[in-house]
């Protein structure tokens, strides 16, 4: 994995984790904050509800007051105080007045407690109203359970007395606490009021209504209702109506008590958590979206940063590869003054240093080579010069001594002179030949044939007289494919190695030639069982004009290397003193441009 990818991954992971952590934290905090707000809202609602309830009570009291103060009621009171009075005239009065005053309950009751007219139960005229009969009625609005023809109902009541000549007439009015009452309450959206009419102990879902009628799944409120029934105090509970968390309510149960403290019913204020859940959901999804976008942005920014950070490094790497490939003059553009800039600067210094050192080395080597060449040339030329000098001196001497002897000497000397001059010529041609190295002319050839041919050519040297014989051996791999190469150059290079090997075994030995398949390459090994070379000798072996031989020019292996290099191959040596040497040539099977060369040559 590239550095840039690693860096990118690291950055991205870091950013995502950070974003997730923030999202989680924000979500949690907002959830808590919303819960708190919601609770405060519920509390405010309940408070508002209490106010509304009080207001309704005052409203009822006001209406009852208005009825009691009205002229018609006063007239009725006066009329009823007369003897005899006809209460029957007023039997429908309560219903009409109640309708006008929008009251659900209205009764006109004499001081004795007898109902004159009842709006809620018109047939009850003449019967006693316990409220007025038993004790003085309360001044404020109060809750009361009212008997109706079809059961009982809860009501918010108020009583006012209408002064009359003798005894007062009482106006008992009220509003029914039922679904209409609930519907008339001004409640914020998402809030609903429910009413539970208490019928002693226990819970019956039938007695639970809201503004729309009977509350479905009312039994879910049973624990809450029972808690209020048990404690008599306000209670609160979150009710889940279904598995959907949005379908839940924060229900506050307010006990409704009579003047005597009996629990008549419960008002349940339900605050829907739908909005809360929706908001939380929205925040969560927004957080997720933001996190996703953040991660994406993080990836983009990270990749940009990574690219920015790694570009000098990559340039460095590329430059290093360039340097490794030999392009020592590679320079990096220094764009920043930071560590990377310094590194680029150092790299540039390094490559400049390397180039300088190499140039110095090359110059030194060139000087060394020239020295070696001069030494070798001097050495090579000094060797034939000395016999020449001796011969010339012998000739001169013989001339002085005379005749017959002279002739003979002359003959011998001229022969020596010619031989040495030829020797000099040979030396010069060898140098000349090295300098005129031709370009390889590639064609398809069988390497094993080449090896056999070279060995056959040098059979004479191997079996030369006056010296211990050298055994030649071949280990050729028959299945080798043909390769594209210049057979002449390769033959000369191989011949050089064979001659070197023969030279390395003056006391005889075994010369082994091997071929083998080495992947994309073909391997040719020339091994001798000679004296071998030191490590240092091996390192300097391919330097031109370097030789270990007493009479070598030092150009042979340089030539070999040059040929092999021209074939894009490689030559190496394994050797140690006393154990012989093995030269290994690796040649690619196919050369670039083989075809063209083949075609042009063929």
């Amino acid at each position: 994995m590239s550095f840039r990818r690693k860096l990118l991954l690291l950055f991205t992971l870091t950013v995502i984790m950070a974003v997730l952590a923030v999202a989680w934290a924000v979500s949690g905090i907002t959830h808590r904050a919303f819960e708190q707000t919601e609770q405060e809202r519920t509390n405010a609602l309940v408070a508002q509800f209490h106010r509304e309830f009080t207001r309704r009570g005052e409203d009822v009291a006001r209406r009852v007051e208005a009825i009691a103060d009205s002229e018609s009621t006063s007239r009725m009171a006066l009329d009823l105080s007369r003897q005899p009075s006809d209460a029957g005239t007023y039997v429908n009065e309560a219903a009409a007045v109640a309708k006008a005053q929008q009251l659900d309950f209205l009764e006109f009751v004499t001081a004795g407690g007898a109902i004159v007219s009842s709006a809620q139960w018109p047939a009850k005229f003449g019967y006693k109203e316990a409220l007025v009969e038993n004790h003085p009625p309360p001044g404020n609005a109060f809750l009361k359970r009212e008997e109706l023809p079809d059961g009982t109902a809860l009501g918010l009541f108020a009583v006012r007395a209408v002064p009359s000549a003798d005894k007062p007439l009482f106006v008992v009015g009220g509003r029914r606490l039922d679904q209409d009452f609930l519907a008339s309450l001004e409640l914020p959206a998402g809030t609903r009021a429910m009413l539970y009419t208490n019928s002693g102990s226990g819970f019956s879902p039938e007695l639970l209504v809201d503004a729309a009628g009977k509350v479905p799944q009312g039994e879910k409120l049973e624990p809450l209702v029972q808690r209020v029934q048990d404690t008599g105090a306000e209670q609160n509970q979150v009710i889940s109506w279904s598995s959907d968390p949005a379908d839940s309510e924060n229900v506050d149960a307010i006990p409704l008590k009579s003047e005597q403290g009996d629990l008549l019913g419960l008002l349940l204020v339900g605050n829907s958590r739908r909005d809360l859940v929706a908001v939380e959901k929205r925040i969560r999804s927004t957080a997720l979206l933001v996190a996703g976008l953040g991660a994406l942005l993080a990836i983009l920014v990270s990749s940009w940063i990574a690219a920015r950070v790694t570009r000098p490094v990559e340039q460095l790497a590329a430059a290093s590869r360039e340097v490794a490939a030999g392009n020592w003059s590679t320079q990096l553009q220094v764009e920043s003054g930071d560590e990377l800039g310094e590194m680029a600067e150092a790299f540039n210094r390094m490559t400049r240093e390397l180039t300088d050192q190499r140039e110095r080395l090359v110059q030194a080597e060139r000087v060394a080579a020239w020295r070696e060449l001069a030494r070798r040339l001097a050495h090579e030329l000094k060797n034939p010069l000395f016999p020449l000098q001796i011969t010339v001196e012998n000739l001169l001497k013989s001339r002085q001594h005379g005749g017959e002897q002279f002739d003979e000497v002359f003959r011998e000397s001229t022969g020596t002179l010619l031989a040495e001059i030829a020797n000099l010529k040979t030396i010069i041609s060898r140098f000349s030949e090295f300098s005129k190295m031709p370009q390889p002319r590639l064609r398809e050839m069988d390497i094993n044939d080449l090896v056999r041919d070279v060995l056959l050519t040098h059979q004479a040297q191997l079996q030369a007289e006056g010296r211990p014989p050298i055994v030649a051996r071949t280990e050729l791999e028959d299945s080798l494919e043909q390769i594209s190469a210049d057979p002449d150059l390769l033959r000369r290079a191989l011949a050089n190695l064979v001659l070197n090997a023969i030279d390395a075994m003056p006391k005889g030995g075994t010369l082994t030639l091997r071929t083998r398949d080495a992947g994309p390459n073909v391997c040719i090994e020339v091994a001798d069982t000679g004296s071998g070379m030191t490590k240092e000798e091996c390192e300097r072996l391919f330097t031109p004009y370097y030789t270990t031989k007493e009479y070598g020019t030092g150009l042979g292996l340089a030539f070999v290397q040059s040929v092999i290099s021209d074939h894009h191959g490689r030559i190496s040596v394994r050797s140690s003193p006393g154990r012989g040497s093995t030269f290994v040539i690796e040649l690619p099977r196919h050369q670039e441009g083989t075809a063209q060369l083949s075609a042009s040559s063929g």
């Binding site: 006809d86 209460a87 029957g88 005239t89 039997v91 139960w121 018109p122 047939a123 009850k124 005229f125 003449g126 019967y127 023809p149």
Partner: protein
């Protein structure tokens, strides 16, 4: 028992106008009298109209052999005289001559006999010259009164057209909604003053009074409980003698002595005076009997004091259901009051608006005839009992039959309620009879045009 005020009221207000002329001004011919009624019959056949509780219409179109006049005296109508054998089984009625149906065909004994046969399958009706003979298996001393019943009105179906001999003929008929009657020029009793009657049906009491107030109706029915208020408002109100019985009718005979006791206790505990004075605003009379005193003359014999509200029935008594007509708010109130009173006596009564099968029903039975025998038989029929068979017309027999009906435990009479009508100021010669019948043939509109 204190003598109630209706006779003087009726005689003072109603009978004052019992004449073809209304006071000082002679009647005008012409115009359309607009009438509103509560009920909405589906057809104008005499049999359908007879089943109607407050049938004011049928006598306008159809007539019987006899009829009751505004003072509840039996009068000849299509028959001019009649006679019976001493057993009251064989009755002969002589026809009025020169009477024609509204379609122009003459009233013949055959047509009359055919109409009577179709109305009374158990009668043997034969024709003799200018009379019809009716023979019955049982003595029918009140046959002339029976023949005055709307269901025995004579109608003629010729060519699919229904016609009677009454003063008005059907001009337009939308079943249950509107009936337009036009004056029958050839009516034997004289063409009605009004050219036509426009009767709108199915109108609630309140709507009717409003329509009268707005001048959209000339004759409207008035609920008993509205009479006082309407009179105070200066409306022209005419009240009949109390001829409707509000009663609790039980679906079956008492099955045990205890049940009989429950019903007796209920009857004793009901505060009828409160219902009359308050719910009916003083209209009508408290009723311990089926027949009002003005019909029987002996109702005072049944007067028992209302018992004080002390539970007299064990509280274990089962709840009885009591149905009432939900379209009449007063009936609902009376049912609730009866239930309230019953509770005081330990009788659990549950008023129900639905006309489903209940233990008891609170009903208004309109007495169909001023003839006491005929009325008693009709009440017995309404209570689901076999109508009484009278051997003669003695008051003692009537008394005994009524006593028997009351002792059956099937009916608790509550109130006798009158029928009331309010008429427009420009309507003259209104003569509502003692029995609440409307003679719209005699009314005339006090416009300037003849």
């Amino acid at each position: 028992m204190k003598r109630t005020t209706w006779p003087s009221l009726v005689i003072g207000s109603v009978l004052a106008l019992l004449t073809a002329t209304a006071g000082a001004v002679r009647p005008h011919y012409g115009g359309t009298v607009r009438v509103m009624v509560r009920e909405a019959p589906a057809s104008v056949e005499p049999a359908t109209l007879a089943a109607w509780q407050n049938d004011h219409i049928s006598t306008l179109i159809f007539e019987g052999l006899t009829g009751f006049d505004s003072r509840s005296h039996l009068q000849p109508k299509l028959a001019t005289r009649w006679q019976s054998d001493s057993q009251y089984r064989h009755w002969q009625f002589w026809l009025r001559s020169g009477v024609t149906f509204q379609d122009g065909s003459p009233l013949t004994p055959d047509a009359l006999a055919a109409a009577l046969r179709s109305a009374n399958s158990q009668w043997q009706v034969s024709v003799a010259a200018d009379s019809v003979i009716i023979e019955t298996d049982n003595p029918t001393p009140n046959m002339p009164a029976v023949l005055a019943l709307p269901e025995n009105a004579i109608s003629n179906h010729t060519g699919g057209k229904l016609s009677g001999t009454g003063p008005f003929q059907v001009a337009a008929w939308q079943p249950g909604k509107r009936l337009v009657l036009s004056a029958f020029e050839g009516y034997w009793g004289g063409r009605p003053f009004a050219d036509s009657l426009e009767i709108t049906m199915g109108q609630a009491w309140r709507q009717q009074l409003i329509a009268l107030e707005l001048g959209r109706a000339d004759v409207v029915e008035v609920a008993p409980q509205q009479v006082r208020r309407a009179t105070l408002d200066g409306k022209r109100i005419f009240t009949s003698a109390p001829n409707q019985l509000v009663a609790v009718v039980f679906a079956r005979d008492p099955q045990s002595e205890e049940e009989r006791h429950v019903r007796q206790s209920l009857s004793a505990i009901i505060d009828r005076a409160a219902i009359r004075n308050v719910l009916l605003q003083g209209q009508g009379e408290v009723a311990q009997t089926v027949l009002p005193n003005w019909m029987s003359g002996y109702a005072f014999l049944f007067t028992t004091p209302t018992s004080s509200p002390q539970p007299t029935v064990p509280l274990s008594a089962p709840t009885l259901t009591l149905s009432y007509d939900p379209s009449d708010p007063t009936m609902q109130l009376i049912a609730q009051r009866v239930a309230l009173n019953g509770r005081d006596a330990g009788v659990n009564l549950q008023p129900l608006a639905a006309p489903a099968s209940t233990d008891a029903r609170l009903v208004t039975i309109t007495l169909p005839s001023p003839n006491p025998q005929t009325a008693l038989a009709a009440v017995a029929r309404a209570a689901g009992l076999a109508p009484q068979q009278f051997q003669g017309s003695s008051p003692e027999e009537l008394y005994a039959q009524e006593q028997q009906l009351l002792q059956s435990g099937r009916i608790i009479p509550l109130i006798h309620v009158p029928q009331a009508v309010a008429i427009a100021p420009n309507l003259n010669s209104w003569q509502e009879g003692l029995f609440g019948n409307w003679d719209l043939a005699d009314v005339w509109l006090g416009g300037a045009k003849p």
